[in-house]
């Protein structure tokens, strides 16, 4: 709990933007997944880096933890306060600070969401490509090293954050990276902070790499006789060097849920959803080459979406797949799994996972960013049913262990939070202790998002 002097200092610093109101605390204890924790002790809504720095100094003086909060869309409890503390809600730091079109760079505050950024960029001919589906905050996306549907072409947050302003434990403010495209000057602090989930500091500004809006875009869905045929087609596509902008797998159960929820009429079979970016001629060539390749793997029923409205409809359906799947079992909540394996092991990982789920009492449609080897099962659990929740968590753990056995990782894009901290030693071995030493060096009192990720 916060001491009276801490309460007084927080109130003096933030005034009406400091809250211990029940409704505010409860809002910041919500999670999109089954991971849960008690509400934080208080919530603050900073508006400037200076306020975040002063807050970190108070945290150091009074010994209370700080937990960053962006849009509340994370899936492993990153923004929850399992050890109590003060939640730092960045929704008031949501401005685009600068756009440099010649450098293809935007400087933004951490509370800005990815959709708001792309809306602001529309007239520039540029866009920010990392697209995890949810309208997450950019600070949160950097903190969790988010990726998504367009990562096969444009990379993850690791690849698209050029620099950061970070408030360290104690209140010191550092700037990492520059506006230049690359640098060989010292340790990559930008890359260290990206994916550190607020355990090393709080991000107060991001310098992001933008990309040119493609001149032409073409999307398609096509059906395959089996998941493994679809995966073999993906491998061949990548090896051929076709520059896919998106290549997504939906298994048959996901297709059924998406058809029902988004009023599509995809054939009842495993599907790949595709997108090509480029000049009109190159997009046409890519589509033709993909079509020839896919035919060899038994693909049929290509549905092309050339018009923007058709494309939007297709990708909106993909992005709503999580809600569509949840809606397929009324009263359900979900354990959303996330593993990533080498492409060569993807078919095996998918087959073993599907068999494991089929042998359980739970429905668990599978979908994924298969160009990256990354996939999710949405394990549906009756709300409040502890036995089903335990089954789901066992399935999820086995998925992670399977990914490790196949040379992959326990999370491709959702991160660790406290949902997966227990699996970290299995992935990293002695490297996990090295992470703990870095944490100790930068946050010796353990005030930055404690209880997560590191030893």
């Amino acid at each position: 709990m916060l001491s009276d002097p801490a309460l007084a200092d927080l109130s003096a610093l933030f005034g009406a933007r400091f809250s211990t109101a029940r409704a505010v605390l409860d809002h910041h204890a919500q999670s999109e997944s089954l991971v849960s924790a008690p509400p934080p002790w208080a919530v603050v809504f900073p508006e400037t880096t200076q306020e975040v720095s002063a807050l970190a100094a108070l945290s150091d003086r009074h010994g209370f933890p700080l937990i960053g909060w962006g849009a509340g869309t994370s899936l492993e409890g990153h923004a929850l306060a399992p050890q109590g503390g003060v939640t730092v809600d960045f929704t008031r730091m949501d401005r685009v600070l600068a756009v440099h079109p010649e450098d293809m760079v935007a400087v933004v505050q951490p509370g800005l969401t990815r959709i708001a950024l792309n809306d602001a960029l529309r007239a520039t001919g540029l866009f920010f490509p990392v697209d995890p589906g949810a309208n997450a905050s950019l600070g949160g996306m950097a903190s969790t090293r988010a990726s998504g549907t367009a990562t096969v072409r444009y990379g993850t947050m690791r690849d698209n954050v050029l620099g950061l302003e970070v408030v360290l434990a104690g209140g010191e403010v550092i700037r990492t990276g520059t506006m230049a495209r690359k640098s060989a000057a010292g340790y990559d602090l930008t890359g260290l902070i990206v994916g550190s989930e607020g355990t090393l500091g709080l991000i107060t500004e991001l310098t992001l790499r933008l990309h040119g809006q493609p001149e032409a875009v073409s999307s398609a869905a096509c059906a395959f006789p089996s998941v493994s045929a679809a995966v073999d087609c993906v491998i061949a596509t990548i090896q051929m060097g076709l520059p896919m902008a998106r290549i997504e797998l939906l298994d048959e159960a996901t297709v059924a849920a998406v058809n029902a929820f988004s009023h599509l009429a995809l054939p009842p079979a495993p599907q790949l959803l595709l997108e090509f970016h480029g000049s009109p001629a190159s997009v046409a060539e890519q589509a033709e080459r993909f079509g020839e390749l896919a035919a060899g793997f038994g693909a049929q029923g290509f549905q092309w979406a050339e018009k923007q409205e058709d494309r939007n409809r297709l990708w909106a359906a993909r992005h709503q797949a999580y809600r569509a799947i949840l809606a397929s079992r009324p009263g359900a909540t979900a354990v959303v799994t996330d593993v990533c394996v080498p492409i060569s092991a993807l078919a095996q990982a998918l087959a073993e996972t599907a068999a494991d789920i089929a042998a359980s009492p739970l429905p668990g449609p599978i979908l994924g960013h298969v160009g990256d080897g990354n996939f999710h099962a949405i394990l549906m659990v009756k709300r409040g049913d502890a036995a089903e929740a335990a089954v789901a968590k066992d399935l999820a753990r086995r998925m992670a262990e399977r990914a490790l056995r196949l040379g992959g990782t326990i999370t491709g894009e959702h991160g660790i939070g406290f949902g997966k901290t227990g699996l970290m030693p299995a992935e990293h071995g002695a490297g996990w202790q090295a992470m703990g030493r870095i944490k100790q060096a930068l946050d010796p009192k353990g005030l930055m998002n404690p209880g997560k990720m590191v030893p």
Copy 2:
């Protein structure tokens, strides 16, 4: 100096692969640039990770520094021993351990050079794209976060190292990263070690990302009326989203040196050297679009190299530019500068640098990877002339300060070593102290490549 017990332990561990012979020590005191230091106390040639681990344990017990050595091509004294110590020469750890074509991944030892790797990959249809010109070792390239001519398309070592095996101070061995394309599992230790120049540990194995050999390749040289016209053309090219594989600037003095050295007949004017990768149709389209664009900036005299032998000749000339420039002033040695700025500031940075060099008594041709905003001046100094060396070092310092003033970095790809350690606070401010805390956490006794990069 090494104590007698240290000498005995090293000799017992390495036998004939431990040397204190004058010639061996002198060879490991050589540097490609003006940065110099006395020879190390001894050199060892490990053959296994276990030997490197045992060596680090001896280093910890006896308190002697360890300095990694790859191919000796670094430019800022990274592999020299300014504080003495034992040089770890990785030339006997030069094997390709595995190639996984489906995953487009190779696992290699650190002493393997990039050309040897690409020779080994030839039959697979894959290649490793990071190309700094010199035939550097891959461990050294990872340690210095190397990049080069193909980085505008394929990225730097940061983007192409998926995982590492690292021996930490004291001898602990960690593995970072996995064979999967991406991960959100914890701190990016791979990214932290890449670019850390051996100050956090010694790389004993690398998992590298490969790319498909392009189906079609086309190269060209074209002349521009001025450096700024060439740079404006580069900016327009990038904004248009043309996927250039290489786009290199040579100023007029560099063109003259290259013509003389490599028997080319490029027109005496600033040149862009270009390369396009893709399908035959897309390469043809890219070349046509570039040609239209470049004409608007006054480009003329396109020389296309469609045949492999012509392309090889053109890029060999580019890669030998450093030697060509040195040959243009007999008896000279060089200070090779390296800065990187936001593309929008590139024309200004180049103009101010050229003016600064023109006002000095030294010749300093300029060339660079202008698609990244990265360029070099080769400042030629009469060998042994201290006054000229001082002028060159002043010019280099002003280049770095100019890059910072324009929002860039003091090094795009050559790294810090001890040549540029003094400039680190100016670039990183409080972030430099944070780097020092990380160094202290992972190497508390300061045994890993001491005296470089960090406070």
